[in-house]
């Protein structure tokens, strides 16, 4: 219970931090007081009309950002801030996180579907094609991380890294996991839902407060993902001198920077090619990661 405010504090800080990092990475420094820029952008969207399209699926259109945001919160709920300090101390934390990833695909698809417009619809369908195999990758590397911990609980995985971080022990894990982060937060090279070649994809018909809600949900998912990655691969709350939550926040911020940089600096290949690359190159790599983790755990 005490961890719930912590979850929302981390989410709020992460959303703010990621929004600022995005501006820095893209060299778009307006206005000069960059720290307050997200607030001003939010005010702009709140003062704009929320457009409705012809015959939309209004209920699902409004539900999509809510589900997306709620899933980000659910994903963060299994991440421990300190030993025992966690919203939902589930033995099957990894399984819950996997379910959140899968349902995110549904939320993004619904967002594209509901507008009854061609560009968002293509975005929604295309995202499913990339989201499914990307999710597979992440589950393999997460299971690899669970091997030395002998548990599916995120807390146990963090504790298993007292001697050595999983990033070192399983070098393929984090890079593969980051790909999923880019995919489920619709970012840069893995942004097949809200892409610019579709004029904004699932968000192409969305304006004003609705767009703000969608943007916040996207950044919330990014933050939740970074916290999960920090816990599973970077030792989460473990660290000297500082208290656990501070270490988790620092590592989350570091991953947010990496993700933002990758998002701004990598080209997006056409979806069929990405789908083939995921199945034929990256999935075998995740098998390899599993083997490395398995052999390492037995030694």
């Amino acid at each position: 219970m005490t961890a719930i405010p912590l979850v929302f504090a981390l989410l709020a800080a992460g959303i703010w931090f990621a929004a600022i990092a995005e501006r820095f990475a893209s060299a778009r420094r307006f206005p000069s007081a960059i720290v307050l820029a997200p607030l001003w952008q939010a005010a702009r969207l709140l003062s704009q009309q929320r457009v409705r399209t012809e015959y939309p699926d209004a209920l699902n259109w409004a539900l999509a950002p809510l589900v997306y945001g709620a899933l980000a919160v659910a994903g963060l709920s299994v991440v421990p801030f300190a030993p025992g300090l966690v919203v939902a101390p589930l033995d099957t934390g990894i399984v819950l996180w996997g379910a959140c990833e899968a349902l995110t695909i549904v939320a993004v698809f619904l967002h594209g579907w509901s507008a009854n417009s061609m560009l968002p619809l293509i975005g929604g369908y295309r995202f499913v094609a990339i989201g499914l195999p990307a999710m597979l990758l992440s589950m393999f590397v997460l299971i690899a991380a669970a091997l030395p911990a002998q548990s599916l609980a995120v807390g146990a995985i963090v504790e298993s890294q007292r001697s050595m971080w999983n990033m070192v022990r399983q070098p393929l894990g984090l890079p593969l996991f980051l790909l999923l982060g880019l995919a489920i937060s619709l970012r840069g090279p893995m942004d097949y839902g809200d892409a610019s070649d579709l004029s904004g994809g699932t968000a192409a018909e969305v304006s004003g407060p609705h767009r703000l809600a969608w943007g916040i949900a996207r950044l919330a998912m990014l933050t939740a993902f970074a916290a999960m990655g920090a816990s599973v691969f970077l030792g989460g709350y473990l660290g000297p001198w500082l208290p656990g939550p501070a270490w988790l926040a620092l590592k989350t911020a570091a991953l947010l920077l990496v993700l933002t940089w990758l998002g701004c600096n990598l080209a997006r290949m056409p979806a069929p090619r990405m789908m083939a690359a995921l199945w034929l190159v990256l999935l075998p790599l995740s098998f390899l990661d599993l083997v490395i983790a398995g052999v390492e755990a037995l030694l």
Partner: protein
């Protein structure tokens, strides 16, 4: 039980924080006419509604995906008992994965990953 209740509470709070943005009361400017609701296509128009039986070119891929999802269900318990069982577990999962790997190669040969 407590964990589940906390989880649901946190999700509900998250959704509740976003809800006002979808029910935002302050709106400047004029009314929304029917011409505003026309889908955006850069000045173009569509002759029919966008909702359709979309040709999902990747449907064979989704079948392959299901095979891997089922495998994932076996992997969860496997991961927990892996260290106790030792080398035998590694060999078992290696066999399982190589069978699925052959599946990927077969799917590739059949052109499953070619968007058609």
């Amino acid at each position: 039980m407590g964990a589940l209740a906390n989880l649901i509470l946190a999700m509900a709070v998250g959704a509740a924080l976003l809800l006002p943005m979808l029910w935002w009361p302050m709106q400047l400017g004029g009314a929304s006419g029917q011409s505003q609701q026309v889908p955006f296509l850069g000045g173009g128009s569509q002759s029919a509604h966008a909702w359709q039986r979309f040709h999902i070119r990747y449907y064979p891929m989704t079948l392959l995906f299901i095979a891997f999802e089922m495998e994932m269900m076996f992997m969860y318990p496997w991961a927990v008992v892996y260290v106790e069982t030792g080398i035998k577990a590694l060999a078992e999962m290696g066999m399982f994965l190589s069978i699925l790997g052959v599946g990927i190669v077969y799917a590739w040969r059949e052109g499953v990953f070619r968007w058609q």
